[in-house]
C-alpha cells in the first residue's frame, strides 16, 4: 500500500445535543415529488445493552431508487435517476428510541463481480456514547434475492435476521437496532 500523505481526522461522538444542529425539515422523508416505485415506511427502535431505548441516537440511510439506480456520478448504470426521490434520509430517534422513514423500496443494485445485491438501505447509527458511527444495512424480508445477496452471504447465518426488516403491514417494514447484547445487530467493519 502506498503511504498516505495526510492522516485521517478522528471521529468523535455527536454527543447529546445534536438535535438543534443536525435534524432538518422533512429529513426522514425521501420522497420529494412524484417518486416511482412502492412507497413504504421503514421503522424501528434502537436499544442498548441493557435493553433500554436509546432516545439520543440518529439514523441516516442512503439507498438506490426503485429502479436500482444511485443518484451519484459513480453509478454508471443505464437506468433513470428519479427527480421525485432523494436517496438520503436522516432521523433522530424519539424518546422511545423509535425512528421512522418514508421512502420507496429500492431496486436491486450491482454487487462485486457479476453479483446482484438484494434491495437494501445503507444505514449509519450515530449517538451519544458512540465515539464513531456504526454501519449496518436494512434488507426486506419479502425479497427472494436475499438468499443470494453477496453481503448477507458474509454474515453468519444465525445473525442474518438482524439485518432483515419484517413486513408489519403491506407498506410498512420494521427492523429494530440492538447496539449490544442478545439479538445484537450485525455491524460492519468498512
Amino acid at each position: 500500500m502506498s503511504k498516505q500523505r495526510f492522516g485521517q481526522t478522528p471521529s468523535q461522538t455527536v454527543g447529546p445535543f445534536f438535535h438543534f444542529g443536525l435534524p432538518y425539515e422533512n429529513d426522514s422523508n425521501l420522497i420529494v415529488g412524484d417518486a416511482q416505485g412502492q412507497r413504504i415506511v421503514v421503522e424501528g427502535r434502537v436499544t442498548d445493552g441493557q435493553g433500554e431505548a436509546v432516545p439520543d441516537a440518529m439514523i441516516e440511510i442512503w439507498q438506490a431508487n426503485a429502479a436500482g439506480k444511485y443518484d451519484h456520478p459513480e453509478d454508471v448504470q443505464d437506468k433513470p435517476v428519479d427527480s421525485g426521490f432523494h436517496g438520503f434520509g436522516r432521523c433522530a430517534t424519539d424518546k422511545d428510541g423509535v425512528f421512522r422513514f418514508q421512502t420507496v423500496k429500492p431496486g436491486a443494485v450491482p454487487g462485486p463481480g457479476n453479483t446482484l445485491q438484494a434491495p437494501h438501505l445503507v444505514t449509519f447509527v450515530f449517538g451519544r456514547g458512540m465515539l464513531k458511527q456504526l454501519l449496518t444495512r436494512i434488507y426486506f424480508e419479502d425479497e427472494a434475492h436475499n438468499a443470494n445477496d453477496p453481503v448477507l452471504g458474509l454474515v453468519p447465518e444465525a445473525r442474518r435476521a438482524t439485518l432483515i426488516a419484517r413486513k408489519t403491514n403491506p407498506a410498512t417494514y420494521r427492523l429494530d437496532i440492538v447496539l449490544q447484547g442478545e439479538g445484537e445487530t450485525v455491524f460492519f467493519d468498512y
Binding site: 478522528p10 468523535q12 432538518y24
Partner: protein, 234 residues
Amino acid sequence: MADVIPYNREEKGAQPPSLYLPYKSTEFRAPKQPLVILPHTLSEVTGPVYGHGRVLPVDADLTKQHAGEPLGERIIVSGKLLDENGRPVPNTLVEVWQCNAAGRYIHARDQHPAPLDPNFSGAGRVVTDAEGNYKFTTIKPGAYPWRNHPNAWRPAHIHFSLFGPSFINRLVTQMYFPGDPLFAFDPIYQGIPDVKARERMVSRFDMENTIPEWALAYRFDIVLRGRNATPMEH
C-alpha cells in the same frame, strides 16, 4: 458492471474504538459481537452528492442569526476539506453546532447553571468551494460540565458533520482549540488511541484570517478517507 474502486479503510490508531470505558456511556452502546468485514460496493462508494437542502449565507454566520450580537469572543473558523492523498473535497456540506460563550447549549437537556444567549443558537451550515475550502463566523464556545466522572468538563469544541464524495466518507468529529488544559482530562478527546492523531482535531490560531478590530481566527483542516492513487505494490 466493473468493480468499484474501494476507499481506504479506517486508519489504525486514528479512529476510536466503540468501547472506551473512561467514556462511561460507551459501556452499553458498543457492539460485543465482531464486526463483519464489508468490501466496498456501489452502495458504499456512492452517497448524497450535495447533502441536503439549500444553504443560505446566514447559515455560515452564527453571529447574525438573531436581532442582536451574541456575547463572547467573535471568531472566524476556516479550513480545507481534503482526502488522505491531499485532494480537495469540493461542493460538500459541512454542518456545525456548538454551545454559547458561557458553555450552554440551546437544548432542553442542557440544564447546567450557565446563561442562554438570546442572540445565539449555535448551528450553522456551509458548502465547501471548488478547492474544498469552508469558512464560517461564530463565537468561541465555552467549556461545560458533564456527569461522566466527578468534576468532568468538556474542553471547548465545535461539532462538525461532513459528507464528502461517498457515504463511506461520512465523518462526525469535534474541533478543539489550541492549548486547552482540559484535553488531559477529557475521555472523548482521549478516546483516540494515537496521541498524534488526537492533535489533528485541534485547530490552530490563524493570524492571517483575523479581521482587525472585529474577529480572531482559527484554522481547522479536515481529512477524509482517500483512495489508493496507485496500483497495489508488491
